[in-house]
């Protein structure tokens, strides 16, 4: 076979092979990681980049929170290190959130891929490692007021030199962790990932030849960019605004910062411009987002309005012009604390989705819950243990369908990343007492918001707790007559049965042995007037226990017998 058919097939095989290389690296990281959250659930991010730092491919199971971070942090390595001075087997690491990183615990690891003595490509991996210091175990430090309290900062430095571990750095990492074995296990997993992907890239270059591989990649990126521009040109031209108000940063009680976006769509091939300049100033607490994270949120939201099958590579980034104001919540001055950036990133997504849904009204959604991360730890014991996990709430209702339950914000990718209970109990001194869908937590509406969940965990030892809950003061908003969802809560049940309230964003909170942590996540907002909801849908909700008989009557005027 020859001619255009063969070329097409070869191009396709090549693209899939690139994707599989990133995919495999991601799987290797997950399979060899030591953090309970990564190993039991969450996906690792892995990618291939080219010599210039452009993103070539990203593992498709990647946590979308990390989508832009590899791409945004490689330039820091290229700035600080001379390509000519690099050697095969070098591996670099960094986490500086002001240069493309996320926060201390999210380590970004890169390995150059050499052909004929020249760096041609990069493989990169990224996960949240177990613990890297800071004033609260596991990297959840809502009370941090600067980046120094969040953990060890790493500029772009060599982790391996010519295939040999850089012992000095390994020792620094281990000494700065409350869980040195685990964190070094996680670092090993990240390195295993970049090694596997580099090996695959070398194999591909061997098979296709460097020049053909390079040309194939060039076509791939150009094709994605063309598709992205064509899709963006389909949006109705106009200027669309959106905003989202955050509960607060946990430290400044009188301030509820707002993320604001102004989206300009021209209707031609120029792409889209998202201007976040009017977003409020940076916060004292840790809810600020480094630019790579803010960009991740913006790009995710834009991708919800174009053909989803466009591959995630540099071609998606080029047509999206994003403007942040230095000193705002989305691109803060150092040394702002940035560990809680998921709050602001969610705000970015919600604001952009809200704005752009005016260009495509069928994609209107009510607001969703925000992730509830928490850590449980015994950091000062001889045998330290640590769990970083999270819970998800309901999604906002969509035009035409109810919001899904217990599955987090749209960009979080689903619930499979929440660890199952049994393996956690097998390795940690905790016992789950309950996990259930929360009836009535979804906002009423023609289409109902998704339900939140209630989780109860008994700690068997004295335990230190950190929580970073959002949508606790301000519930997810309803839309177009739909009602708000129910806000989340967090509290402790003491041994005598009394309840002790917890701050929504707090660290170094103490729990006595046998106390129970209760977390409830928020329900999504409803969309459309509740009175317009189909009677059968209300009856089904009551039958299935999603809505109580009382609430059904109060919101929908429907009398039901309720579940057995």
């Amino acid at each position: 076979m020859s001619g255009p058919n063969a070329d097409r097939l070869e191009a396709e095989i090549l693209r899939h092979a690139l994707r599989v290389a990133a995919e495999e690296a991601s799987i290797v990281v997950v399979h060899s990681a030591h953090s309970a959250m990564i190993a039991e659930g969450a996906d690792a991010c892995a990618g291939i980049l080219d010599r210039e730092g452009r993103l070539v491919t990203l593992s498709t199971a990647t946590n979308l929170m990390h989508a832009a971070s590899l791409r945004c942090s490689l330039p820091a390595i290229l700035e600080d290190h001379d390509l000519e001075a690099m050697a095969p087997g070098d591996v670099f690491v960094m986490n500086d959130c002001f240069r493309g990183g996320i926060h201390a615990n999210d380590l970004v690891v890169f390995r150059p891929v050499f052909r004929e003595g020249r760096v041609e490509w990069w493989t990169g991996t990224l996960i949240h490692v177990s613990d890297l210091g800071g004033s609260s175990a596991g990297g959840i430090v809502p009370t941090a007021t600067d980046v120094f309290a969040e953990g060890l900062q790493l500029p772009p430095v060599r982790l391996y030199a010519g295939g040999e571990p850089v012992a000095d750095l390994h020792q620094i990492l281990a000494l700065n962790s409350r869980t040195p074995d685990r964190v070094m296990g996680d670092v090993g997993a990240l390195v295993a990932g970049v090694n596997v992907a580099a090996e695959r890239m070398e194999g591909l270059a061997e098979r296709y030849g460097t020049a053909r591989l390079r040309a194939g990649i060039e076509d791939y990126l150009a094709g994605s960019e063309t598709r992205m521009r064509e899709e963006l040109a389909k949006l109705a031209p106009g200027t669309y605004r959106g905003e989202y108000r955050i509960d607060g940063d946990g430290l400044e009680p009188d301030r509820q910062p707002v993320v604001r976006v102004c989206a300009e769509v021209g209707g031609g091939r120029e792409g889209i411009r998202l201007d976040f300049s009017e977003t409020d100033d940076q916060a004292l607490g840790a809810i600020n987002a480094g630019f790579s994270q803010a960009l991740t949120g913006a790009l995710y939201a834009v991708r919800c309005f174009v053909d989803p099958s466009i591959p995630m590579n540099e071609g998606c980034f080029s047509p999206v012009d994003v403007v942040f104001r230095k000193g705002s919540l989305l691109d803060p001055h150092p040394p702002a604390a940035c560990g809680g950036r998921v709050v602001s990133v969610t705000a970015v997504c919600e604001a952009v989705v809200h704005a752009l849904s005016r260009a495509r009204p069928e994609l209107a959604t009510a607001a969703s819950s925000v992730i509830h991360p928490f850590t449980l730890a015994a950091p000062s014991r001889l045998e330290p243990w640590l769990l970083l996990s999270y819970e998800y709430g309901g999604l906002g209702a969509r035009r035409g369908s109810d919001g899904p339950d217990a599955t987090g914000a749209f960009f979080l990718g689903g619930r499979n990343v929440v660890p199952q209970i049994e393996p956690l109990e097998a390795s940690l001194p905790i016992v789950f007492e309950r996990q259930r869908l929360l009836p009535d937590s979804g906002g009423a509406g023609q289409w109902r918001g998704g339900l939140g969940v209630e989780t109860r965990i008994r700690v068997l030892q004295e335990t230190e707790l950190a929580v970073r809950s959002e949508r606790v003061l301000l519930p997810p908003k309803g839309r177009e007559g739909g009602q708000d969802g129910t806000a989340g809560t967090q509290y402790v049940i003491e041994e005598g049965g009394g309840e002790r309230s917890l701050p929504a964003k707090g660290a170094n909170l103490q729990m006595a042995a046998n106390e129970v942590l209760v977390l409830t996540t928020s329900g999504g907002g409803g969309l459309g007037a509740p009175g317009d909801r189909a009677a059968e849908a209300v009856a089904h909700d009551v039958e299935e226990g999603f809505v109580s008989a009382e609430e059904a009557e109060a919101h929908y005027g429907v009398r039901g017998s309720g579940p057995r």
Binding site: L9, A61, D181, G188, V191, D405, E543
Partner: protein, 691 residues
């Protein structure tokens, strides 16, 4: 003197294939339309036919191997039994909360639809009880709680009950107590507990596996009882074995409780057949392509072995054939890695609202079947198109046992496709043939291109009734130069399953530090696992002649994913950590220093079967076979005068140039212009691109 004959019976959506292999390797085959409402009937009729043809006594049948899609259909159509689900108090929403991942394109879909909850609220019951991960009882089962659950379940009136309590793998006692109470109260209800079905850690995976087992177990039990009594009335008392998704078989006696292990059995049988041919032809890379009446399946065999995965996903999504981890509902059972598309001979062609021609996934099945079967089918199928194109003969289909009527086939094509599109019937037929080929090619795409494998490095082995008719066009699409259509390709799955071994695998979560497992303790623990594995296989504790493989799942302390390390003898249990470290370094390229722990013990049992000879050895000939001519279409413009030979007349030593059609008793092979075909000494057709 018994002749030691083996029967293979494979039920597909359209046809039921039965093959009787005699001790000397001679085959008798029967293809029969499947009776969907009572699948055993078509099996029994076909068995009767091969017995009559072979003229042997039923007592000479030594073994019956059966592949069934009963469980598959029940799961896909959600038509399983009415099931009540019991779990630990506080966790009733376990399966409703779910763990579904949004992958790939779904991640950006603001309208994505989560899978509907697998259970209605009324079917869920919570038992007051709790055990720890170490198997200690934190809260015992008390009679009032037990009675309340039994009462509730009874009132729900289920056909089956699925029990999954937290940490039941470490302490099955509570599940056993509930099982006993339920059986006592409801003797006719099937009770399935997780500690028996899948005693491994991770409650969602275990609960899902248990739930699906309960949904299909009653159906499978009833069906197999009908089949066994039918076989007995034919005088066949040989052991009945059921094909598994893993590529092995199990005893029918355990097939109800292990029905989820049959979900991909049809595809597995085909890939196993391809694996045998790969070995026979010493091909290290083979793509198996199996096209029947309802679906087409593709798998890859590398170095003689198909890849086996440890779980499958019901309703899975994403690329890699919808097998993305985290999508759909997991079922923990070893499964051959394959891709399936809803395109077969019976697939219906239709025009979508925009006037674009589509083929499948709806199939005319066995009833009414394609329009040309003359059973009242009014919609055009791929088979109808192939008849109009001249590939199939109205008289010689299935050795002339089954006449095909071109008139209703042409009418269906005219009414539904040609006339609305304003084209000729032949052009419509050609478009349908091409659309079906493209759809089937996507299955091959999934197992090769999407995994970064180059299909051009592979030989394509084609079988199934319709496989050899489409395969060359598909090979051309991928740049594959050689295709093999084995003898009796139309019933290859039924032949393939006759040569599969009796196998079972059983795992048990067993968390222990690597230095805390003595050889004596290992021996005792593995003995328990082996007992369970033997039960899964349906053989007794003292049955001999089994190959026993033991594996220890090892990991570094703190990890959640293990590497299975084979254990050659209990005395060397102390060497496992070192072997694990070596293997780990090979797999991941890093060598962590951490402590090693064991997470699970696994036993794999295999009882090899005597394989009937693979192929008919045939004598070569120097003369070309008698050839008829008819018009066939190899493009939309005009038909070509095409040679037609009988496969039985076609002998090694002669090569024919395309276009040529080779009519076999259970399949038709189409060789288009630009390709040539010969028969090798094993009676396979070898089709190659002209050089």
């Amino acid at each position: 003197m018994s002749e030691a004959c083996v029967l293979g019976a494979d039920i597909g959506g359209t046809f039921t294939d039965v093959v009787l292999t005699r001790g000397d390797g001679r085959l008798h085959v029967a293809k029969q339309l499947t009776s969907p409402e009572a699948p055993e009937r078509s099996v029994l009729e076909a068995v009767g036919r091969v017995l009559a043809e072979a003229a042997i006594a039923p007592g000479e049948i030594e073994r019956v191997v059966h592949g069934t899609t009963l469980a598959t259909n029940a799961v896909i159509e959600r038509k399983g039994a009415r099931v009540a689900f019991v779990t630990t108090e506080g966790f009733g929403d376990l399966l409703r909360i779910g763990r579904e991942a949004r992958v790939e394109d779904d991640r950006y879909d603001l309208h994505f639809a989560p899978a509907p909850p697998p259970l209605e609220r009324a079917a869920i019951f919570e038992l007051p009880e709790r055990v720890s991960a170490r198997g200690e009882v934190l809260r015992p089962v008390a009679p009032p709680g037990l009675e309340a659950v039994v009462e509730g379940v009874r009132a729900y009136a289920p056909e089956a009950v699925a029990i999954c309590l937290l940490h039941a793998y470490a302490h099955p006692g509570h599940e056993e107590a509930l099982e006993e109470a339920l059986r006592a109260a409801m003797p006719d209800v099937v009770v399935v507990r997780s500690s028996r079905v899948h005693p491994e850690m991770r409650e969602f995976d275990r609960a899902s596996t248990t739930l699906f087992t309960a949904e299909v177990a009653p159906l499978m039990a009833r069906y197999l009882a009908r089949l066994a009594s039918g076989l007995e009335s034919l005088g066949i008392r040989a052991p009945l074995q059921i094909m598994e998704s893993s590529g092995g078989v199990m005893a029918a006696s355990v097939a109800a409780e292990r029905a989820v292990a049959t979900l991909e059995s049809g595809g597995a049988a085909g890939v196993m057949a391809a694996a045998r041919f790969a070995g026979f032809y010493e091909k290290s890379r083979v793509i198996s392509f199996d096209m029947g009446g309802t679906t087409a399946k593709a798998g890859v065999v590398e170095k003689g072995r198909p890849a086996v995965v440890r779980e499958l996903h019901v309703g899975g999504r994403g690329s890699f054939g919808g097998r993305r981890a985290g999508t759909g509902m997991p079922i923990k059972t070893p499964t051959i890695d394959l891709a399936e598309v809803g395109a077969g001979g019976g697939s219906i062609g239709w025009l979508d609202p925009e006037g674009v021609l589509r083929v499948g996934p709806r199939s005319a099945g066995a009833s009414p079947g394609p329009a040309c079967y003359g059973q009242g089918g009014l919609e055009p199928t791929v088979t109808d198109a192939n008849l109009v194109l001249g590939y199939l003969s109205p008289e010689n289909f299935a050795d002339g046992r089954f006449a095909l009527d071109p008139a209703p086939a042409r009418r269906a094509l005219e009414d539904r496709i040609a006339s609305p599109l304003g084209v000729s019937v032949e052009r419509a037929a050609w478009a349908m043939h091409e659309a079906a080929s493209a759809s089937m090619a996507s299955a091959i795409h999934v197992v090769t291109v999407q995994r970064g494998l180059d299909p051009r490095d592979h030989t394509l082995v084609a079988f199934g009734g319709a496989g050899p008719m489409h395969v060359v066009g598909i090979a051309r699409e991928f740049g594959i130069d050689q295709v093999i259509a084995p003898t009796h390709a139309g019933v290859a799955s039924a032949i393939g399953m006759q040569a599969t071994d009796l196998t079972a695998e059983h795992g048990l979560t067993y968390l222990v530090s690597s230095d805390a497992l003595s050889p004596a303790e290992a021996r005792a623990r593995f003995a328990e696992v082996e007992v369970a594995a033997r039960r899964k296989m349906g053989v007794g504790d003292d049955e001999e002649g089994l190959e026993v493989g033991r594996l220890v799942d090892a990991r570094f302390v703190g990890q959640a994913h293990e590497v299975s390390i084979p254990l050659a003898s209990f005395d060397v249990i102390g060497e496992i950590p070192a072997r694990f470290r070596t293997r780990y370094a090979e797999l991941y390229g890093v060598a962590p220093a951490g402590r090693v722990e064991f997470a699970a013990l696994r036993v794999r049992l295999r009882r090899p079967v005597d394989r009937p000879p693979l192929v008919d050895q045939v004598a070569s000939a120097s003369e070309a076979p008698p050839m008829e001519q008819r018009l066939a279409w190899f493009g939309p413009e005009a038909p070509v005068e095409t040679g037609v030979v009988r496969r039985a007349d076609f002998r090694p030593g002669v090569a024919l140039s395309g276009p040529v059609i080779i009519e076999g008793s259970v399949e038709t092979t189409v060789v288009p212009p630009g390709w040539n075909v010969r028969v090798d000494l094993a009676a396979s057709l070898v089709i190659e691109r002209d050089r």
